[in-house]
Amino acid sequence: MKNLLLWCLFTILGLFISLQEVGAQECRVYGYVTDASDEALIGVTVRIQGTQIATITDVNGRYQLNGDFNKSSVLTFTYIGYAQKKVNYDGREKIDVKMQSSENKLGEVVVKAKSNINAIDLRAKAGIVESIDMKRLSEKPMIDMGLALQGMVPGLNVINTGDIGSKPQIRIRGNSSFRQGNTSNEPLYVLDGKIISAETFYNLNPQDIASIKVLKDAAAGALYGVKAANGVLEISSQRGYNGKMTLTYGTDMGLTMRGRRGVKLMDTDEKLELERLLQNPAAPGYRYSRDYFERYHASDPNKEQLITEGEKRLEALRNIHTDWFKELIRNNFYQRHNISIKGGSGTTTYFLSGNYTYQGGRIEGNNKQRFSVRMGLDQQLGKIGYLMIGVSGGYAKSKSPNGSSFDPTSLVYNLNPYEQKTGELYSYPNRSYRDLTQQYQSDASDKNAGVDINVTLTPWQGFTLAYVAGLDYLQDDNHNFTPASSFTEQNTGVPDNARGIYSRMKGTTINLSSNLRATYNHVFADVHDVTLGANYDYYLYNYDAVGITGYGVGNVDAPSAINNSLHGMRQPSVRNPRDKNAQMGIGVVAGYTYNSVYDAYFTYKADASSILPADKRWNTAWAAGLGWTPTNYSWLKDNKVLTKLNIKASYGVTANLNGVTVSNTVGTFMFGEQAYEESRILSLLSLYNKDLKAEQNKSTDLGLTVELFKRITLDVNWYNRRTEQALLDVPIATSSGYSSLKRNIGILQNRGIEIGLNTKIIDAFDCRLSVGGNIAYNDNKVVSLYWTDKLYLDEQSIVPNYEVGKSYDMIYGLHSLGINPLTGYPVFLTPEGVEKQGTEPLTKNDFIALGHQTPPYSGSFYASFSYKQFDVDVSFYYVFGGKQRFSYQYVRNSDNAIYNAVSGQTQKMWFKRGDEYKEYWTPFYTQSIAEGNLALYPNTRTIGSSDYIKLSSVSLRYRVPSKWLQKTIPFIRYANLGLQGSNLFTWTRYKESDPESGTLAGTMQPIFTFNLNLTF
């Protein structure tokens, strides 16, 4: 494999070097385009007047042009809402341009249109808004948009949770709620002004996206109101540009690799020896050993002969060395094809694209593919308006053989090295390898379609009216099938005619959003810049699904095969979950800037939700912020050293209602499938809390931006977010008839700091080097629990789940001193310094905090280098400070000696009295309290640091010189080739499975691809 890659590399390099000579003589220019306040402008069209040589500025506002032009040429810069700028090319290689917002200068009405109408300029002056590097994102070969965002922005945490197709965990600045799970903690996704579902977001094609902004604090997200309680990801799609039509085709072809092995397992000899020591007759290592015959056939006259026969059988097994990791975990394919067309003339521009991506999984039957199309059309409406229309459609399908009852990945760790795909299995008695695979299959597909219309009107100077309406339609289809031939169906006493399970669920989700904004901006006496605005939005969510589960389908994967005559547990069932709710909001915003130096910002939004009763429907979000930019003082303005300094502070309060349903607040009843005396059963869904209030997120933010020499940028953000009236389903006294109730239980706090440093070490036309990195730190703690100081979520637990003054994702456990050579069970050290045997019952006072489950530190660093036609980009992602509990699943005790075990267990395990310095406790179940203590609670020796560094992306690209292209393949305007990789390697001290997901199936696959991009 390595050789193949090297060979590819050299061939490509050789080819490029020979091409290098051809493309030498041409003019070239590059530079940065900014607005009046030095913010980079993205998407500005830069053109050599009168030619087709044109480009668009990137995320940093940088453009670069080369070709046949000369000193008399004129560069034109055009951008919506800004006066067109013309600059004479004077032979300088670097030309930086500052564009002026045209209304101020020329007194004529100019429309400033943005696809996300809440993205008003004012917002960034006080709030924390960060952009994702789209170039790096689109060069990362990964099918899942959510996962690809990992490490892109500090404070945006992305955690992979399982095999491909499973939903990642995306959080902005940690969990704002005690409640776990995506429903309560996921950010809001907004594409071109319309709210989209998380699934639609995961399946977006990075090539179709112009920018993604991460809105982290209350001030930035305030215009979205209560929906933005967990932050916002604001996505703008690619638009057309004014110029000749270009057609771009891009492809990635590559391989997905097996990834980290996780734990190293035993080979045959060690395993057979372990089996002998574990003395379980079900395992061949003991069953055919001398020990066994000496014990169970001690007086048998044929004992010696039996021993010899046993030895023969063992010898046969010793010759087999199956590496199940290699057998079951496989390399697979990755491919992507992308075609896009953009262009426009005069008042109309357009963008069209189609994309197909396929990623194969690590195990057979796991893969994901998606297909998407997108169209954007922009139309100037006379002199006062601008219209943007976007249409998109997509199809995504993921398959998984991992069922709730069976996970083929676990076979890698369970099957023994002396077992083969044919023949007897000791690990799964009475089953063949075939009985272990093809037991279950599930697939899920999403079909989505979206349309959005955006009208921006500026009927009078300074007054802008913008309206966006969007529809996001998602149809999801989940299908599960367990054939009658599967082992569980065959062997769990299911009658013949009831075997085989077919289940299917089809749901449609409609997100309808509409947002109207009016803003008025005026500059008085040249220094007082005042903006006033109001917005009104409406959001409707409608979910409707139908699901069936039927039995007795045999081996036919179709609903028509369901046996409808079955009764009792295997009776066919039909479900129809439906949900519909709407939110309406009205907001105002005011901003003031004095002489570009001082900024003040205030926003207030009231939102009403249909899920709450009319009297508590309205919740509010407000924020206020201040900004100071000393570098805009006239005496500092053109300072060469300190090119930018900005300090901002904001405070905001946002209510959070995510995850609250009608049944939480008022008595809600639903008909069940069963009947009682022919009367349908209408039951109360859950106990309701009439006093339930929305959570209140109060956040304070401070931000500092320093730019030196226009080369070094340092961003520091500090935040303190307090969630008051935090909601949680808490256990209650069961004399209420129910065991839990959603209540406002307390106050929690997330505090943290995010630091980003980016430097452009070399910045010339031919040679560029930039390096940078970021780090985010999050610290959380429970500030108060209103009616108690400790909260237990489980009746049996000794250790509280939440405790005042403690972090809420802390793992509690015991301090272990190691295994007692006499008992084979660990000895614990209590915090008072007293030794306690593992065989004794534990009390709350014996526990200590072992560490954070979610790593408090995370971040990334990168280096990006271009020389002539070559670009190299490398980025790493790291987390540290977290702990993950070992599952100890592969340390086998006597009862599960039939499964393969972790390499080294024979040496590290306590087997008999006097075994000293052992790591694993006794394999023989000798004392139930000790076994319970070990199973329930982690200790210092059964957890490990989950720190890791991951080589998250690598790309090596070559841009074919356009001169050479013109001569040889004239119909191709630009071409570039590249080698890309994602998640290539992970360095970690974590001894078990995957430090990130904590599961065996979860390791992210390394992907290598060869990339080709052609523009016609």
């Binding site: 009216l465 949900d579 209408l682 109360l684 006294a733």
Partner: protein, 461 residues
């Protein structure tokens, strides 16, 4: 021209603003009903009551294990947790108690929820008006039944100390921080609920709804529980006035285990899922437990054919439980779980007479029943205590496997309960009549979140 632009601009702005009016937030939940519009008609009220009925816990098998109905078989060892329960293992009782507590209170909560909403129920006509009153009466009876069960499980016997803590008497649906009321107060509350409900005249041709007669039966049962013998006699006789000797023939007894509603039952829970399946290990090898050999049915007893199920286990013919177990073994589904029947009323009233000292009235009454079902009648010379013993033993026989005996043993607390070895060959241990385990532990959730007093003998940490 300028005028035209102005008009155009105003129209566009106006059009955008009209979009504002198109939205409403009064969206009812799609497949659910929310207050205040959920329980507004009689049919929905009945459906909510149906939900309360169907949530009633059925731990009859578990209580039969705890009582003296069964002895282990050779297969008992294969179901350790049932065997542990049979042997009154603390841990096993500790596991059973919280689910019982929550389940009964859940039924109570649903009844409370319904009763709180009855004012909002609109009746369209006279029939509905009547049905509305009946629904409320049934809800009260069902609630009373749950309280009585809770009291029997979680409080000591009435005569030990009527002022000892009983159970928590709820006043509304939701969380309250109420403590346990005394047994006496609980009994008064239950009686109040039942008396209230008993004033509503109603009956149903379906066994699954609690009729006026069922309310009377419960009043009698409650009176016997609280040593109010005259009360038990009065209420019980009202029930017996409706009895018919046709119910005590072979055919009549057989109908008790049939799938259809039957007038010989006073009340039975309607049931759609499997019931009593837990006692059987396999249809070929037999059951985990068999009927206590001390309860042998005489040959002439009409009940014998239905109440026990002869089966070869370990080379001998054993008497396994009949009733629902027989239905399961014969692949007949059980749609009713018998809760009150006329035989029960005979036993209640007869015992009450006996305890009141009216041996003759007791003898006359119970002899009538015994005569009907083919059991030897008690001679006129029988002493009061002997008759009482006969009545209690036959009551145990009548209700074998139906979880009644445990509560009678607890109520009478006359003798220690013996635990037997396989096939009932010998006694292994015995549970004293004043053992703390007769009164179940208050669940952790209750003392952890409501600071309720724990019963003596059980841990509260």
């Amino acid at each position: 021209m300028k005028q035209g632009i102005l008009i155009f601009k105003s129209v566009v702005v106006g059009a955008c603003l009209t979009l504002l009016t198109a939205c409403s937030l009064n969206i009812p939940p799609q497949d659910q009903f929310s207050d205040p519009d959920a329980i507004t008609n009689v049919s929905n009220a009945r459906s909510l009551l149906a939900s309360a009925y169907s949530s009633y816990p059925h731990q009859e098998y578990e209580f039969s294990l705890l009582g003296n109905d069964f002895v282990p078989t050779s297969l008992s060892i294969k179901d350790i947790s049932s065997l542990n329960l049979y042997n009154w293992n603390d841990k096993e009782i500790n596991k059973l108690a919280p689910s019982l507590w929550q389940d009964y209170y859940n039924v109570i909560a649903q009844c409370d929820g319904l009763l709180e909403r009855m004012n909002g129920v609109k009746a369209e006509n006279e029939n509905e008006e009547k049905e509305k009153i009946v629904i409320a009466a049934e809800a009260k009876t069902l609630k009373a039944l749950c309280y009585l069960q809770l009291l029997r499980i979680f409080a000591p016997a009435y005569d030990v100390n009527p002022d000892a803590p009983g159970v928590i008497l709820k006043s509304e649906l939701g969380i309250e921080d109420k403590q346990r009321s005394s047994i006496r107060e609980c009994v008064a509350k239950i009686k109040e609920l039942l008396t209230d409900a008993a004033s509503v005249e109603h009956s149903s041709d379906r066994n699954g709804w609690l009729s006026q007669e069922a309310t009377q039966y419960l009043l009698a049962d409650l009176a016997l529980y609280s040593n109010d013998y005259q009360g038990a006699i009065d209420a019980g006789n009202k029930v017996l006035s409706k009895s018919n000797d046709i119910y005590f023939t072979s055919e009549g007894l057989n109908s008790l285990w049939s799938k259809n509603s039957y007038s010989g039952r006073i009340f039975a829970f309607n049931n759609n899922s499997s019931y009593y399946a837990g006692i059987q290990y396999s249809s070929q090898e037999g059951d985990y437990f068999m009927v206590n050999p001390q309860l042998s049915f005489v040959g002439s007893d009409l009940r014998k054919a239905l109440f026990v199920y002869p089966f070869m286990m370990n080379g001998s013919n054993r008497e396994l439980l009949g009733k629902y177990n027989r239905c399961n073994k014969q692949n007949q589904s059980t749609s009713y779980i018998n809760t009150m029947r006329y035989a029960g009323a005979y036993f209640i009233v007869a015992e009450a007479y006996c305890r009141k000292g009216d041996t003759e009235a007791a003898r006359r009454l119970i002899n009538h029943y015994w005569h009907c079902i083919g059991v030897a009648e008690a001679p006129s010379t029988i002493s009061n205590q002997e008759l009482l013993n006969l009545i209690l033993t036959d009551k145990q026989r009548e209700f074998v496997g139906e979880g009644v005996n445990f509560f009678d043993l607890k109520r009478t607390h006359a003798a220690a309960l013996k635990r037997q070895s396989q096939w009932g060959n010998s006694t292994t241990t015995s549970v004293a009549s004043d053992d703390y385990r007769w009164t179940f532990p208050i669940p952790v959730s209750e003392y952890r979140f409501n600071k309720v007093e724990q019963n003596p003998g059980w841990p509260s940490n």
